[in-house]
């Protein structure tokens, strides 16, 4: 994306903020997975938690490089947004597939609810949308 002196710091702070949110929620999901604590918004799953932490790390890495004066730091914002988008698309596809099973009335899906599919990787993407939009606008 086009990073100028004017928007550079703002984008960098945005990248850091998104990174911290992903790392915080991912960390909580990771810990919940180990201790067996469940909330509907952050269910326990240490694997998924780890994935979100790594995505958060990619976002934050960009900010660190920006502070060091690296001109290409926005690559990390682009890749972070891309990974966040991939995970979002993955959960959306899973939600649609399971919704189909529920609609067709298959036995294993009778007790399926939309809320159980509402994984952090899905709703967290809301904060990554501006970054994903900028990346798409610039490069795709």
């Amino acid at each position: 994306m086009t990073v100028t002196d004017k928007n550079g710091m703002g984008l960098g702070l945005y990248s850091l903020a998104v990174g911290l949110v992903y790392m915080f929620v991912g960390g909580a999901q990771f810990v919940n997975g180990f201790i067996g604590y469940e909330t509907w918004i952050v269910p326990g799953d240490w694997f998924q938690g780890l994935v979100l932490v790594i995505i958060g790390l990619v976002f934050s890495w960009g900010y660190i490089l920006m502070r060091k004066g690296d001109q290409e730091w926005d690559s990390y914002l682009a890749i972070g947004s891309l990974l966040a988008g991939i995970i979002f698309a993955l959960y959306l596809f899973m939600m649609l597939a399971n919704g189909l099973g529920w609609m067709l009335g298959f036995e294993d899906w009778l007790e399926w609810t939309l809320i159980e599919q509402f994984q952090p990787g899905l709703w967290l993407f809301a904060v990554a949308i501006p970054g994903a939009y900028l990346t798409m606008k610039e490069h795709v």
């Binding site: 799953d45 998924q48 990619v58 890495w61 690559s75 990974l83 991939i86 597939a97 189909l100």
Partner: protein
């Protein structure tokens, strides 16, 4: 080459590549006017995806996402295929109701067998679609590049990772792809370490066992199985380098393609090319396997055992009983033992044979039957054994033709059985120690 190496003081391959690119740069400088400087989008992506610290974690995220996509989202499509096959089987069974043996062969043997195997087309096709996306986007070449740093530290050629990635689809073309590796030692290491990469044929076994014993964590459990296969392949490559094929790996020079957005048409085409191999196998080997399995389970020394046979007294039961004592420390009984023997033909047959042995219809029913008899620790040990022991008969034939050596083929078979047994036993003991050794203890 050795003389060139001495004169240049560096590896000739690297020197030639450097000279070639210096020349290309020179020509470009003379004939090309650049209007804009700076990094291209591909360069920017590489800056992150090939990052020293983030490269491998990002690779793991993408592989994890691939398995989540193919496993967690395919369940409903599996049920649709299974329901259709069971219904058709019942229809033909009704048509042949007058002849008990023929009706059993068609309904339980042929359609029953297909109802266990064909539903796995859904996760297999979705996995191949995901692999096609990664490949067509230009990322796969980067994955090999990222892993080269790690592999080189272990004395393994970076190019070995490319056949390893192909092995996620099928080990046979992957072993054949090792021909592209120049050094003889590097090529042998690549061939002999490739069978531990989990191919698509193992996937049905994982899907069945992970859903039955680790509900809610299927995708992550299967991801772990694939990572275990990759780790054993790398360990085997390291071991071979340290023992039979001593020396330094040849240099790894590779041109990275630019990134591009994969088109749906190309990706679907690549998915079809790979998936159709499984479909063809279902129509030939698995069809034959279903008939052999039905015969061996419906008949015993006493003759035809009836419509609801006691499989323990059938030929399958006798065969499984023979090897059962060897596998008792892993928690396997004669049924899992028999499934392992048949799986040598093709790994998917393990699912088919368990279906026939347990005399149930459909994967949900067989999953329930398995969960009622075995513990999660035994299930994990079985998945690990299926992953690591002798690849299918066709892969063994390919190892023989590619190594041109019975000695190395035999080594591959014996080593795989030993390593499968040892790792499965370790997993069984560890999981039992944390309370997963009891039936229903997931």
């Amino acid at each position: 080459m050795n003389r060139v190496r001495t004169v240049l003081g560096d590896d000739p391959e690297i020197t030639f590549a450097e000279k070639r690119y210096t020349m290309i740069s020179g020509i470009l400088e003379e004939c090309l006017t650049k209007t804009e400087t700076g990094m291209t989008f591909s360069d920017k992506l590489d800056k992150v995806l090939l990052n020293k610290y983030l490269g491998i974690p990002i690779f793991l995220i993408l592989v994890w996402a691939l398995f989540q996509f193919s496993i967690e989202a395919s369940g409903v499509f599996m049920v649709i295929i299974e329901t259709a096959l069971v219904t058709v089987g019942e229809f033909f069974g009704t048509l042949l109701a007058g002849n008990e043996i023929a009706a059993s062969l068609v309904q339980d043997g042929i359609f029953g067998g297909f109802a266990f195997i064909l539903p796995f087309l859904a996760p297999i096709f979705l996995m191949f679609l995901g692999i096609a996306w990664l490949e067509d986007s230009g990322y796969f070449a980067r994955a090999a590049f990222v892993m080269d740093k790690l592999l080189r530290k272990l004395g393994v050629h970076g190019k070995t990772f490319i056949p390893m990635m192909l092995g996620f689809g099928c080990n046979i073309p992957a072993i054949m792809a090792c021909r592209s590796i120049e050094g003889e030692k590097d090529r042998m290491i690549s061939i002999l370490s490739n069978p531990y990469i989990s191919c698509g044929a193992r996937l049905p076994v994982y899907v069945l066992f992970a859903a039955a014993f680790f509900p809610g964590f299927e995708g992550s459990v299967i991801f772990l199985m694939y990572m275990l296969g990759l780790a054993v392949a790398i360990f085997t490559a390291w071991l071979l380098r340290k023992t039979f094929f001593k020396g330094e790996p040849e240099p790894f020079i590779m041109e990275l393609p630019i990134y591009r957005v994969p088109t749906l048409r190309e990706s679907v085409l690549h998915m079809w090319e790979r998936g159709v191999v499984f479909l063809k196998k279902a129509g030939t080997w698995l069809f034959l396997g279903a008939i052999i399995l039905w015969f061996m389970s419906a008949f015993g020394p006493a003759g035809y055992l009836g419509t609801d046979p006691d499989v323990s007294v059938s030929y399958t039961g006798i065969l499984g009983g023979l090897i059962q004592p060897i596998f008792a420390p892993l928690g396997f009984d004669w049924r899992l033992g028999a499934a392992l023997i048949f799986a040598f033909l093709a790994k998917e047959i393990a699912v088919e044979s368990l279906g026939i042995i347990f005399a149930v219809e459909g994967n949900v029913a067989i999953g329930g039957a398995l969960a009622g008899v075995f513990s999660p620790a035994t299930a994990a040990a079985f998945m690990i054994f299926i992953l690591l022991y002798i690849p299918c008969i066709a892969a063994v034939g390919t190892i023989k033709s590619e190594t041109n050596s019975w000695k190395w083929t035999l080594f591959s078979i014996v080593y795989s059985i030993i390593i499968a047994y040892v790792i499965a036993a370790i997993a069984f003991v560890l999981l039992s120690a944390i309370g997963l050794g009891v039936i229903g203890g997931a």
